[in-house]
């Protein structure tokens, strides 16, 4: 079995939590060089233990972010895969967070265009597709990431770049047990395992598997967004 991304450089931005670390580890196992640019909630040593390089970056500080991204590109030579993952906490920053992602997109897009190849994956929440109550700003932010996915995909498709998103439902994050209230809403009746997010991300990053997919939102949600009726799910029957 050969690895999937030998010689490639993967950049992960957004959150520093267990899931981003899991994604970093998985990309590393596929022989990508991995950079994790985030504010460092996990600490540099945990990131480096996963085989990734840590770059301290505040996504909302545009100029500083660009300087960090320049360092990544200079030190690692290229960026083949950009994976942006933001949890609910990061999304609470609203339009400032979106500006930060867009700012990164402009810079990383230029690098990928010069390479004539690159794959971008935004991991966002199903909250951008259906509106959970009481979190209007977050829902809007998630929806904006899906539209950014489509828009960048269209602009960059002629240049050989692919841009896709994952709409993630409830996932085990290794910190808190998923809320039973939420699990009862999910057709599959359980939260996603981190590996199930990882597999979807690697699939979208792999040109041998998803070469004709761009501008698409892959729902990794146990059926959440297909279901429209009652809560809990059992009441549908």
């Amino acid at each position: 079995m050969n690895s999937r991304f030998p010689g490639q450089v993967a950049l992960i931005t957004g959150d520093c939590d267990n899931l981003s670390l899991t994604l970093a580890r998985a990309l590393r196992q596929e022989d990508a060089q991995v950079a994790l640019a985030c504010q460092g909630g996990l600490g540099g040593s945990a990131i480096e233990a996963a085989g990734a390089r840590w770059y301290a970056m505040d996504l909302q500080n545009g100029k500083a972010s660009q300087a960090v991204l320049r360092s990544v590109a200079d030190q690692l030579g290229r960026i083949d895969i950009w994976l942006h993952y933001a949890s609910a906490t990061a999304c609470s920053s609203g339009t400032a967070g979106l500006d930060g992602v867009h700012n990164c997109a402009r810079f990383i897009g230029e690098i990928m265009q010069s390479q004539e190849s690159g794959r971008v994956i935004f991991v966002a929440s199903v909250a951008g597709l259906f509106a959970p109550a009481g979190q209007a700003l977050r829902n809007s932010q998630e929806a904006a990431l899906f539209m950014l996915t489509k828009s960048l995909a269209i602009d960059w498709a002629p240049l050989g770049l692919r841009v896709n998103a994952i709409a993630l439902g409830v996932v085990q994050n290794g910190v808190a047990a998923p809320d039973d209230h939420l699990l009862g809403r999910i057709p599959m009746g359980r939260a996603a395992r981190p590996q199930e997010l990882v597999e979807a991300a690697l699939f979208l990053a792999d040109d041998r598997e998803s070469s004709f997919i761009t501008g698409e939102v892959l729902r990794v949600d146990g059926g959440w967004t297909a279901y429209h009726l009652f809560h809990p799910f059992d009441e549908a029957f």
Binding site: M1, N2, S3, R4, Q29, E30, H102, A105, R106, G109, T149, K150, S151, L152, A153, I154, D155, W156, A157, P158, G169, P187, M188, G189, A192, R193, E196, E199, A200, L202, F203, D206, R208, E209, S210, S211, F212, I213, T214, G215, E216, L218, R219, V220, D221, G222, G223, T225, A226, Y227, F233, A236
Partner: protein, 264 residues
Amino acid sequence: MTTNTNELSDRVAIITGAGRGIGLAIARNFCEAGATAVIAELDADAGEQASQALRDEGHDAWSQQCDVRSRESVDALVEAVTLRHGRVDALVNNAGMNFVSPTECQPDSDWHLQVDVMLNGVFICTRAVGTVMLRQGSGVILNISSIAGYGAWPLRSAYDAAKAAVISLTENVGCEWARRGVRVVSVAPGVTRTNILQSLVEQGVASLDQYNRRTPMGRVADVEEIASVARFLVSDRASYITATTLAVDGGWIAWDGLPGKATV
């Protein structure tokens, strides 16, 4: 790749309409991952030629003549597969056709044939194979829909309606069976290089240049690009994905179709 190249070993997959085109590419891809492919094909000769070709390549494949519109025919297929293998792990509802005509001129027979094969046939196969899968407590049903199921493609009303219904059926049955170990998913291909496309081009009702221009990636899909996605979705790597459709369209449905200048 680290993706297990034998990830479908010991799995039995039925692929309808797999005598050629996307269905055959999926059958080959599944076989390359270790699966046994059962080619269910209305055209018995095409089915046998396809399965012989796969066997010649060293794969495990066989074919059975099957009319997906007929409950008896589908039941006979499922019985033959379960007798031989004792199980069914994947069903790919792929059989299809595409007639082009103005709706006001469309004969009843054209409408009924397309809806019978591409919607009723999907239901008949899903019910028959799904019953086996529910008994096993495991299985994946993959429906081949189309980007035409997301919106209007004039002169193809029956095709569009059937494909839209399949997207809905995927969500419905996917939810119904979500807690019983059976996933139901769909792939919506964009324009793909198949003999159906070739035939439409030869009839003068389709233009490759036009499709290339309309697709953000600037080209149509090869059948292998649909097959690789099919394999991911039926594999255990997609174990949290159900009741959803994935477009494999080079960006077609994400774009409004108006030319513009990239300004990011």
